[in-house]
Amino acid sequence: MDYTYTLFIPLVPLFVFLILGLLGHKMPPIVAGLIGTLGLGLSAVLSYFTAMNYFWTSHVPETAYTSIKGFEVEWLHLTEKLTIHLGVLIDPISVMMLVVITTVSLMVHIYSIGYMKGDPGFYRFFSFLSLFSFSMLGLVLATNIFQMYIFWELVGVSSFLLIGFYYEKPSAVAASKKAFIVTRFADLGFLIGILMLSFNTGTFDFQTLTDPHGPAIAQAGGVAFMGMSVLTWSLIFIFVGGAGKSAMFPFHIWLPDAMEGPTPVSALIHAATMVVAGVYLVARLFPVFALGAPDALHVVAWIGGFSSIFAAVIACTQTDIKRVLAFSTMSQIGYMMLALGVSGYGGEEGLGFMASNFHLFTHAMFKALLFLGAGAVIHAVHSNEIGDMGNLRKYLPITHITFLIACLTIAGIPPFSGFFSKDEILAAAFRDNKLLFAIEYIVAGLTAFYMFRLYYGIFWGKKTHYHHTPHEAPKVMTIPLLILAFGSVFAGFLPFHNLVTSDGKSFESHIDWMIAIPSVLIGVLGIAIATVMYKSETAIPDKMAQSFKHLYKWASRKFYMDEVYLFVTRKIIFRYISMPIAWFDRHIVDGTMNGIAGITQYAAYSIKGLQSGKLQQYAFVFVSGTVILVLIFVYLV
């Protein structure tokens, strides 16, 4: 099967971006919106076609899925050994990501036609969405780690542009800068990791790197630094980049602030696609992690596990609905990272790998749904605060139903998709590490609790008097909600253990009721507690906050991580590193240059009197000069 056509999946959004970016201001807004949506629709159709082809039509049953290079060109020929290629890599995880990205992106495009209606930056919004889609598709299709890095930075730029979309708002500008700087800082680790890895293995290519008999894994042995091999260190550095993009602790601080962007952007970039790029990166290099550097994989598991419980606790105390969802995203990505971290390579051992990708898939559906639902709510009440909402279920029936479905899905209630993927993750964690399993088990309960706290706070709860009656969103916004709700309900029945596995071979997987039943029970318990506390206005939440005063205060202030960062940057880095460097730059580097200029200027001022404008003075100097020369030549030479 020839996969060259997959090249058009990222290229169509690129062309749409160029057309909208250059000519968008001349178009009526609806035309710009339709061009963006149709372009993305074309990519989506191509992606579905590719997925059908790869997984079913052209796949010989009972064989392993192989990775195929659909297209590749040499982009930079630096030396004989060092060349950088650009291309398209087709394998189970990239095809799965194509489906996720184009589906969510298409839904967000359709939704945005309604949500962004009347915004003066309408065409700009759609051109940025197309740029983002192009970058993200290029990232997942990358054939080598360098190409991935290029698109990795491109998604960072488009995320920056979209968070700062309302650039008149100082908070949005600050948030976009924060997101860019924090992820850029983490990307430094990624770059170091790439350099170390490719220097040792002599290749950027994913197929060569992840080959179980290839140079990367063969050279894994040997202790280099602090008891770990070069390969382990390089993978840890690469994971730092992934942690930055995926908002893992301690690089998570940008994600809550990124909610300053328009809500569809939060749904697309900061919930469903870009933030899972870190998971995708680890999954892409998974054979190297699993076979070559198990230590690095432990780091991944623990960071993921810690981030998930850390974010879940904070999410219980936030009052801005988008921030609750942001911390929920961080918590769920922690789940995915943990699943990768506890996984082994090949067959049943690779359960965690499968579970991680499965959860990535279902999470993209239900989290995009949650964000788009939150967008519909914000559209109706013009506020992000839970306190301004309540009792909305009568006014927003469709949003209410879809939001409830998404909440049940994320809480892991069968038969919704979240149940299946979360169960696989818990099973994988249980097999590998009981402590991590316990953490995730608690997080499952917390997730159910804070999601239903949010649900009751928005749709039930106190009677709120609105200035004007909230109204249901237009059809162009509710239809994507219904489609995503459909995905959230039924995505769990996809046979992921046959499709996306660590070594491409399918394996038998069944629901482990010993784990599934307790996890459903704790989910139900979480929902029950939330129902008691928040369904109607009671004094219990305040009493709880009083009795756990310190914990509540710490969690609601996000464990003071922002303050810690400010302290480290302002008081330590700025004062002891940046300021001496700035002093050196201003006084030594600039001083040298200013000194040269100053001397020249001083010399010029001191001799400028010679040019007096007095004709006879010039003539006198000229004549006396001539006389002196004559005397010299006559008497001295």
Partner: protein, 105 residues
């Protein structure tokens, strides 16, 4: 007849004219007088041309021709200079060289 006058007499005359011209150029403040001084310098050169031609290479005529060229150039130079002086007068209401010192740093 002219052969009876020694060469040095002519040279003394021309040298005196030359330095009188230089002196006038450097000391006079009136632009017209300075122009006249320049004419003196040019004419002292002309005398040298003619005399050296006559005494050293009697069979050639280059010195004479060159003298004619200098006279022609001096005439046109005088025309241009007087035009400039008239314009200076219009602008400064004076032809004193001390006043014309605008062209500086």
């Amino acid at each position: 007849m002219i052969q009876n006058i020694p060469l040095s007499y002519f040279l003394v005359i021309s040298t005196s004219m030359f330095f009188i011209g230089i002196y006038g150029f450097l000391t006079r403040r009136n632009l017209i007088t300075m122009l006249m001084s320049v004419e003196l310098i040019l004419n002292s050169v002309n005398i040298n041309f003619v005399v050296f031609n006559k005494y050293l290479f009697p069979q050639h005529l280059q010195g004479h021709f060159f003298m004619l060229i200098v006279i022609a150039v001096a005439a046109s130079e005088a025309a241009v200079a007087i035009a400039i002086i008239i314009n200076i007068y219009r602008n400064f209401k004076s032809i004193d060289v001390e006043n014309v010192d605008e062209m500086k740093f």
